[in-house]
Homo-oligomer: 243 residues x 2
């Protein structure tokens, strides 16, 4: 029996080169959208609505009596209530609530994937690494690991997460993909110095300026929020699944 | 004094995210366009005309009484005379001649860079690694290392070459670029097993099927053809420079 395929996409600009329709697409935005989504759902948020535009976020927030959140350049967007830090969503605050979130890279890639025909979409980051791996193995479908990058540029942290997934699940898949080969190499090279290594990346320098060092350490630490956020087209929301 | 910047571009699709106008753009297509260009010029070709379209190649070949070359899927294109293998251009054949070349990835990226405003364009691959590094240090200008990839997808071999350049010249540049950080890591990880490692890449599998193993080994071996092919806008040709 042929194993399903696995590909890694290093920038949203490359998404249309791959067949999204017959795959599970994993949206990866380690700093910080998909870390925050996993954390909010793990801590008891009912649903997370990922929206592409600020205006959608405001309107959906009102309609659903939900928490609205989003940042640009490290600051809460005018008109929204909260930011894009996983630390803002402990169980004591988020349990039972609905979150509507817009971000620079992760939610944008998610909507691009849907637009380009993706049928099954989940989100992943280090806080839910094990749950994502368990889910992907169980589906027995092709996999696309979609790195959000930074404004369409390649970034290290999303690549390291893709590599961590590949390292764990590769025996279940057929992989002929240089991006995946590289991602796994980078993961293996930095799995023991990850927190130090990300201090050399461009995103670290960007967010560090906003005082977000603790956030970043949390975002690259494994399994702090082991839930799989699964996108449901019927209500356009991410729902938590235990895996 | 501020050092000039250096960025690495992992796919032609990402080229427009960077300022090409004020930089030296290095076109990289290790398998095999830029390896072949360096080799032909090193072996005495007067000029190499990189052209984007097959029809241009045929017409320019006639007009200049030049050798025409190009492949698609490992075979010489109908209407052209030679292929895209560096082994086809020994001094005994190419010395004093003009070569007009069209390829799937490398010549395409070169023309894209020109179209997007690049003013200084050279080509690089392992056979001319040292000459390229010497040239880039001497210019004291910003550098864009442009990986051609494979039909817009990321590839390992071009990234390894970018990493090899960065490893040698990084002290002369300001580098805030995750692609460059990754490329240098990949270079360091595989500089001693490069020929073995590329046997795991998708391009190797593709070209190996055409019996081109010797070509590929040559293309990832350093300094077999140490010349810098420099693009001259006035005659649209690559001219050899010794560095």
């Amino acid at each position: 029996m042929n194993k399903p395929t696995l590909y890694t996409i290093l920038s949203p600009r490359l998404l249309d080169l791959y067949d999204l329709e017959n795959a599970v697409v994993v949206i990866i935005d380690v700093f910080r959208a998909t870390s925050t989504i996993a954390t909010a759902l793990f801590n008891g948020a009912q649903l997370v609505y990922p929206v592409a535009e600020v205006q959608d976020c405001i309107e959906k927030g009102k309609a659903l009596n939900a928490i609205t959140a989003g940042e640009r350049d490290g600051k809460v967007i005018e008109g929204l209530q909260y930011g894009n830090s996983p630390a803002e969503y402990p169980a004591s605050f988020i349990k039972g609530k609905i979150l509507v979130l817009t971000t620079t890279n992760g939610t944008k890639l998610l909507h691009l994937a849907l637009k380009q025909g993706a049928s099954t979409v989940i989100t992943g980051s280090f806080p839910n690494l094990s749950a994502v791996c368990n889910y992907l193995i169980a589906q027995n479908k092709n996999v696309i690991l979609g790195c959000s990058g930074w404004k369409d540029r390649f970034n290290i942290e999303d690549t390291l997460f893709a590599g961590a997934v590949i390292h764990r699940i590769k025996s279940h898949f057929t992989i002929h993909c240089d991006s995946s080969l590289m991602a796994e190499d980078m993961h293996k090279l930095h799995q023991t110095d990850r927190i130090q290594f990300i201090r050399e990346t461009t995103h670290w320098h960007r967010l560090q300026a906003y005082g977000l060092e603790k956030d970043l350490e949390y975002c690259v630490t494994e399994d702090g929020a082991n839930i799989v956020p699964v996108y449901h087209p019927e209500d356009k929301a991410l729902h938590p699944e235990s895996w």
